[in-house]
Symmetry: D2
Subunit: 346 residues, 4 copies
Amino acid sequence: MIVSMKLHANKADIESVCERVRDFGYKIHAIEGEERVVIGIVGTGDVTACLESIEAMPGVEKAVRISAPYKFVSKEFRDTRTIIRVNGHDIGGDEFTVMAGPCSVENERQIMETAEGVAAAGAHMLRGGAFKPRTSPYDFQGMELDGLKLLRKAREATGLAIVTEVMSDNDVDLVAEYADVLQIGARNMQNFALLKALGRTKRPILLKRGLSSTIKELLMSAEYITAHGNPNVILCERGIRTFETATRNTCDITAVAVLNELTHLPVILDPSHATGKRSLVPALSRAAVAIGADGIIVEVHPNPAKAMSDGAQSLDFAMFRKMMADMEPYVELWKRARLSEAVVAV
Amino acid sequence: MIVSMKLHANKADIESVCERVRDFGYKIHAIEGEERVVIGIVGTGDVTACLESIEAMPGVEKAVRISAPYKFVSKEFRDTRTIIRVNGHDIGGDEFTVMAGPCSVENERQIMETAEGVAAAGAHMLRGGAFKPRTSPYDFQGMELDGLKLLRKAREATGLAIVTEVMSDNDVDLVAEYADVLQIGARNMQNFALLKALGRTKRPILLKRGLSSTIKELLMSAEYITAHGNPNVILCERGIRTFETATRNTCDITAVAVLNELTHLPVILDPSHATGKRSLVPALSRAAVAIGADGIIVEVHPNPAKAMSDGAQSLDFAMFRKMMADMEPYVELWKRARLSEAVVAV
Amino acid sequence: MIVSMKLHANKADIESVCERVRDFGYKIHAIEGEERVVIGIVGTGDVTACLESIEAMPGVEKAVRISAPYKFVSKEFRDTRTIIRVNGHDIGGDEFTVMAGPCSVENERQIMETAEGVAAAGAHMLRGGAFKPRTSPYDFQGMELDGLKLLRKAREATGLAIVTEVMSDNDVDLVAEYADVLQIGARNMQNFALLKALGRTKRPILLKRGLSSTIKELLMSAEYITAHGNPNVILCERGIRTFETATRNTCDITAVAVLNELTHLPVILDPSHATGKRSLVPALSRAAVAIGADGIIVEVHPNPAKAMSDGAQSLDFAMFRKMMADMEPYVELWKRARLSEAVVAV
Amino acid sequence: MIVSMKLHANKADIESVCERVRDFGYKIHAIEGEERVVIGIVGTGDVTACLESIEAMPGVEKAVRISAPYKFVSKEFRDTRTIIRVNGHDIGGDEFTVMAGPCSVENERQIMETAEGVAAAGAHMLRGGAFKPRTSPYDFQGMELDGLKLLRKAREATGLAIVTEVMSDNDVDLVAEYADVLQIGARNMQNFALLKALGRTKRPILLKRGLSSTIKELLMSAEYITAHGNPNVILCERGIRTFETATRNTCDITAVAVLNELTHLPVILDPSHATGKRSLVPALSRAAVAIGADGIIVEVHPNPAKAMSDGAQSLDFAMFRKMMADMEPYVELWKRARLSEAVVAV
């Protein structure tokens, strides 16, 4: 941590800061600047409380944290990719992962048809919500337990692993019984009661970035789950909220590349929520492959026009098949790059 | 709902849209524009699913919702202010409400001293967190049940009502046993499992606006609580997240005036989280009074420099007393305006 | 400037950074951290180029600037308020300044009526655009020179000083001939060719904050004008662009308080552009007074419904008079605070 | 345009709106809704003034524009791609365009070396700033005319076309004499005096999206240039400003796909400003190819560590060569897609 004093900070102010630092158990290395005094502070452990305490003291211009506040999820802690094996498929490994399915499980026919449709087109996992977070209390809230049962049925029929959302710490055990991967929605990325409960399950977690969460906060939420016992976290960029209204969200695609520099966890992209518009999904999916994401999660529905939610951003089977075919040569380039990376590592 | 077709939309496209509308049970009023066809749709109830279904159909340019998606919380539903009586004090009535206290309950001495300090300076309620949402798993997470017990003790000693945060639907009943008002933090504004549970308690709710939530979404979350049975919701503007980093958040103070036009619910402002810096709190509090907020919620700590959280934005007792004194004439003007409004209403 | 190295940065990386620093002529004070190496750099002058050069060197985690990049406009440079005398009225002094008038000068009758209307209600200056920045090439672009002449006429008739926008460095001399204060619109806040030209005029400048400009960037633009020779700059908060669409912009009212801590320049607020909706203007104007702005600039039009631009946010004369009357007691409190501040300073 | 009235709007309010509409010369089609009255308005031409006038009338809930406010740049106006021929190379055609070079022209050796370096690696155009927009008045402001002369020299030596920035309407003719393409920086995207001047030159324009400009506003600025006489506009996504600080800006890569749906103009991407960090540039460039951009503009410098500006985001020659080689198979896929699109069009 570094504290810089104001231009006219007096000796008493400086001494008070130093005292506070020592109260917290850290060591001091003072630098006498020509224009102003800057104080370097050295120590292990989390410095948040100390930093917050100091930054509003008299005479202080700025207090800056130097070390990243996360540990287990950082590349400094572990420099090989975390590979998460789900139902025989490796997420974060040498194969590009495609999760596909409807926004909500609506009825048996819809979910069974979709499972077969996306499996035939090459998807590795089936997505589908049984518990639905909806902005309005008057919108469809999901089939809940009945939905989970239908997902299990679809799993048995197609062999696809299941990824589905859990919205409350109460439901973690229940959903974990039916799902292969537990999805945490953007609005729950900082639901800390839920994150702690996820640390206690053995299922891998798909953690979506919050609408206005920084990349660092996303990593901190992953750190919560890891620190509470579950190291199997898949990160997901799904668009952030900005002033632009032409798309439902603004896809921060560069976040994928940034995360690849900072963490060993797999990173996937959700082109459906990022755009909100089905015609934009195939182009953004190709870009996700090209930038080096580990996979995508896409909304597909047998009849998007009649979907109970997210119809505008869902692909039908024909569009999904075409998209998968068009992505194929990009995925080939992706694999080549991934394999050559492994060779370099050896 | 209004649907406008693209310039070159053909008859078949238009007919498909009309058919879809009828499938949802709505009536159609078509307008033949000179340049393009616009379709007006009339009907009661929520149109979200229909709108989402139509907006991605071939030939559609744009689909726009006309009615507000909330009902119980709107002024159209009820045009007199909701007044919430807490421990003999009316929130939303003719008195400006001041809630004050530390970010976290840290120990008995700290909370008892603070309760006495803020009561002496004129606060109406004591705030203090027993369950703390923290970005890092390594930061202090709150005293939990022990904290609630200390808050009860402070209530008994000073007569101040208690407002404290609840973070999980699991804890609603427990916290409701100890607190007069249940606070929902910004990161939980769209924790729908929690909102539903809040609908089933009888305690008033203090609902903070999410970091990137629109005013409309804040009202929708209030609608959740109301629709599930609890009409006593206090809204709170606490700053939104923008590109500006000079303050912790950007206070959207105009939201107070906008909410006063849209809803009958009380609206308060949190100048501590909105700024993140104690020196800015008194000026913003005065502005909150002037714009017509129903109250403020302020962080006060016996020794901010040693606070376990939010030290930089907490006032000490002397600063809080001075702020309350300086605010006094503004509060007088506020009361005069509130009373003359009542006269007009008669 | 402070440079922190990555956890596993090697000696060669550290040495390269030190060499680079010395190349730029700065001195080094290295700190050996327990976890990582942090390098303190001391020197006068602007460090931007050095910082940009270092922050992407191998082994570097972060490079942080310590000193503010502006000088003349900072409180560290001058700690008494800059008072700008315009036509016998002091902006930034002991009187709250009200600038009012239409978005655009439309014709003689409109501007003369408005000038008389706002003067009668107590405004100190007349605003009105002769050169108009419009998003669409098909919208009304202003009366240009004819508009300036009408403003002069209104000035002669009412004695009100004139504030009007200049959009190009070409027009600075022309506009300066007719106007008392030159306004720079939000979209031109970083039009550096224009800022340089403004440094060469003697007229005071009203500099509006850009839609996505930070407070620091606003100060840097003021520094441009000052560094090029003109120290008479009035800053203006007019709302920034965020995700919220209920208002035209999001008023960052706290920026007024932040600027009052950082700079000696006067700061005013534009409640018309900040809200985009006339019903919200009076409440926000009161808040501007309460938070300590030096004045406001408000859109007023004889018949807002027929205005050629910004009709939705313009007040008519009756609303403006009522707002001025309602603001009066708040302005009294403002004056009292301003005068007591002067006493403290003595 | 559609106007929806409030729930309790009375007959007089509705009649006033209708009258206003007729005053502007538009026709009315009223719809009697069950819950509220909605008024449809039909007419050609720009409706901005009418819309602004109506949206704040008593009883009005919302006024919504239906037609896009731009015309010449829209796909509805022209449905084949605009191809801009520069120095024998087609931008927007069947070849992916690479513009590369330093942020600023610093001296003869630097620009000549860079020109040769990027030409050898396969770039089609040389970028380099002679007039530099800098946030601080104390930063290097560019070599101006001397810089332009050096660019001409580099053009003669390598045959590369030149793209360079113009910052003031005063300089358009001068820069047009030396450059093949005139670049408009993000901060000048709504410098309307400049846009008008650009309409009068014959040089193609590279128009960068503003930091907080919507896609629609970018198109409106292109419409300005086109409406004033110059149809040769290349659009450029270079990142927008959001709350995220891990990158210099947030690249809204989906904007490329959105623009490809809305306009016939070529669209390129600037991965250097979008990220601010050289290590992220190659990954984002690949994504730009994959999503269907017409090209990229990249910062390259012989010795980024010693660059006078933007060093952190500039590639050196070796990195640029490697990036070009790695992009090659993606560009091949891009070409195949572009050619098959042409076949479909036939």
